[in-house]
């Protein structure tokens, strides 16, 4: 009897669609893979409904790649559904893994976000005060839309996740590697990070740090400096998240002469990527004068946005604001 093809599912929750693009970047390789697997759910590319997923047996999906953060009741509902129907659930991409860019919304609450978007933004001209309303009575019956949550959650804060695949987006080479591993068998121990390295970007970064080392008197933003493509960004006084970010992306930003933004998340053993990053930044301070400390520190613009650009939802900081997710996630 021919071996049944593995059943795969792909889903996007609160995300931008970049994770889908990275999969299509596989091109002909993807088509070849497509012949070896059954895709049972992929809203971006194929016409399936939630009812198709509901009709599956529990655990019938072999591997589900779930990208996007949990931002609404719909995201949460589908996360639970796909968890139930999947043998292996992979948290795919930064939003699902650590909250990603949508996670930055945790700096605000839902009400102030809605107020901004539907009311005070300069481009809005709406005298009716329109707001998304989860439930509306109409002559035909009740119309419902998903509820917008106060807090952005990661997938793992919502359901139990088997593997984590970081990146905004995960680079195509790594996606291909993971597909191959799944087809051939040989996934590592459950709860491992896949499609990435163990150490940080500095481990693979070819930039020079200079013989005598360096410390920093002023932090500048990338657009304020003409950056030398061969020298460590930190040595040029520009904050790079590389020291606190897991390697595996192949350094596309750094090769493009832009500092690492941190999308691959923290390496193993680090609880809070942002805290580790500004701890390292603080350690580089170049002064003995107490008055200068404040001055140098003030040159770090938006330290929270910089350190937690992709990891805010997954940070201790978010848990401090919203309470511990172990209590809240399963809701």
């Amino acid at each position: 009897m021919a071996k049944a093809k593995p059943k795969l599912a792909f889903y996007w929750a609160a995300s931008c669609g970049g994770c889908e693009i990275t999969i299509t970047e596989l091109g002909m390789q993807l088509i070849a893979t497509g012949e070896k697997v059954d895709i049972v759910f992929w809203p971006c590319l194929m016409d399936f409904k939630y009812s198709d997923v509901e009709a599956l047996e529990d655990g019938e999906i072999d591997v589900c790649f779930f990208n996007g953060a949990i931002r609404s009741s719909e995201n949460e509902h589908v996360a639970h559904l796909l968890r139930q129907k999947s043998k292996v659930l992979v948290s795919f991409g930064a939003c699902s893994h650590t909250g990603g860019i949508p996670g930055l919304a945790n700096f605000y609450d839902a009400e102030s976000i809605l107020e901004r978007v539907y009311d005070t933004a300069p481009s809005v001209d709406d005298s009716r005060g329109t707001r998304p309303t989860p439930s509306v009575e109409m002559p035909e019956g009740t119309i419902e839309i998903p509820t917008f949550y106060d807090q952005v959650l990661t997938l793992d804060q919502t359901v139990d996740v088997d593997y984590f695949m970081p990146g905004c987006p995960p680079v195509a080479d790594q996606v291909w590697n993971v597909f191959q591993t799944i087809l051939k068998g040989g996934l590592p121990e459950r709860r491992a990070t896949i499609g990435a390295d163990a150490k940080t970007n500095c481990d693979v970064c070819p930039r020079e740090k200079g013989e005598g080392g360096f410390r920093v008197k002023e932090w500048k933003r990338p657009h304020e400096v003409e950056l030398d493509p061969d020298v460590c960004f930190l040595a040029q006084g520009v904050i790079c998240c590389g020291p606190a970010t897991r390697a595996g992306c192949g350094l596309p930003c750094i090769s493009g002469n832009m500092p690492c933004r941190g999308c691959y998340g923290p390496p193993d053993g680090v609880v809070d990527q942002g805290a580790k990053l500004f701890s390292a930044i603080g350690a580089l301070i170049d002064t003995d004068e107490p008055e200068a400390v404040q001055q140098i520190m003030d040159t770090v613009v938006d330290p929270a946005g910089l350190s937690y650009r992709f990891g805010l939802a997954d940070s201790l900081l978010s848990e401090l604001k919203y309470g511990k997710n172990s209590e809240e996630g399963e809701g």
Binding site: T200, C232, A283, I285, D288, V293, D302, L316, L320
Partner: protein
Amino acid sequence: MADHSSQAQTFAGQVRAIPGGEHLEMCYSCGTCVSKCMIQQKVEPEYNPRRLLHMVMMDMREEAFKSPTTWLCSACDLCYPACPQEIHISGVIGAVKQLAVEAGYESPLDAVSVEETLCSGCGICVMTCPYEAPHLVEKEVDGVMDRLSEVDANACMGCGICVAACPMGAISRPGVSNAEVKAQISVPKSNGAPRMVAFVCDWSLRADADVALLESYPENVRVIHIPCTGRIDPEMALLALHSEIDGVLICGCAPGECHYKRGTVVSSCKIGLLNRVLEQMHVGDGRVRFVQIGTQDRGRIRREVDSMLDHLAAWKEAE
């Protein structure tokens, strides 16, 4: 090697030949340096820069190399402005130490160590170390060449600034590893009294009464001793708040008086950034505070702890 290692030269001549050692003979043994020294007061009664300088001039090479004074000086330089002869004493001691290392003697201090399987070679430790102890080296690990940090154990003073700075948590020092410090971050539930963790730099409190005071607090104030505030990683303060501890007080030396030169400056920058981050998230409320206690600030620790507890009580009330 430079000619200072030549046996033909006197010990004093060799010390003088090393940059920093040139002012050796200006010492007239008044002992003012000893009276200023925190090491002599806190850890090693035998510690005595005046005597060490005298040993050098008397050609007592072996005795000088074995002396704790040679190894324990952290170049905090509290003695420097006090010396009537304006001798940069830590420079002279550094010259003696260099000769001791060349003669094969080893530092008795606990040095930090780097876990090679974790080190990513970012070099943050190299840049932040006040003593130039870590260096980046190309090294073969499991058959692969890798760029790693390697620590010169004789240069390391064990302050732990690099332990906190390492974004991989790859560096540790016995007694103050990440795991050992984190394990202490716990305060029992209390009946309404604010719960606080105080990280206290062992060098910042000069008076015995101030040190004794720390032992007298009830269990809602957990005192965690650290070698230097530079050892504090903001993640620890976050972990404390995260485990429902109301506030974190960090006590270090005043700028310019830091026992490990850079610790206070590095820590105030990190804690400053942490507070900005907490404010951006609207969870700050002054719950993490860094105080810098000067050599003349006897009794100040009591006021700082009380003030923090008052602040936290008011914060709890408002919550």
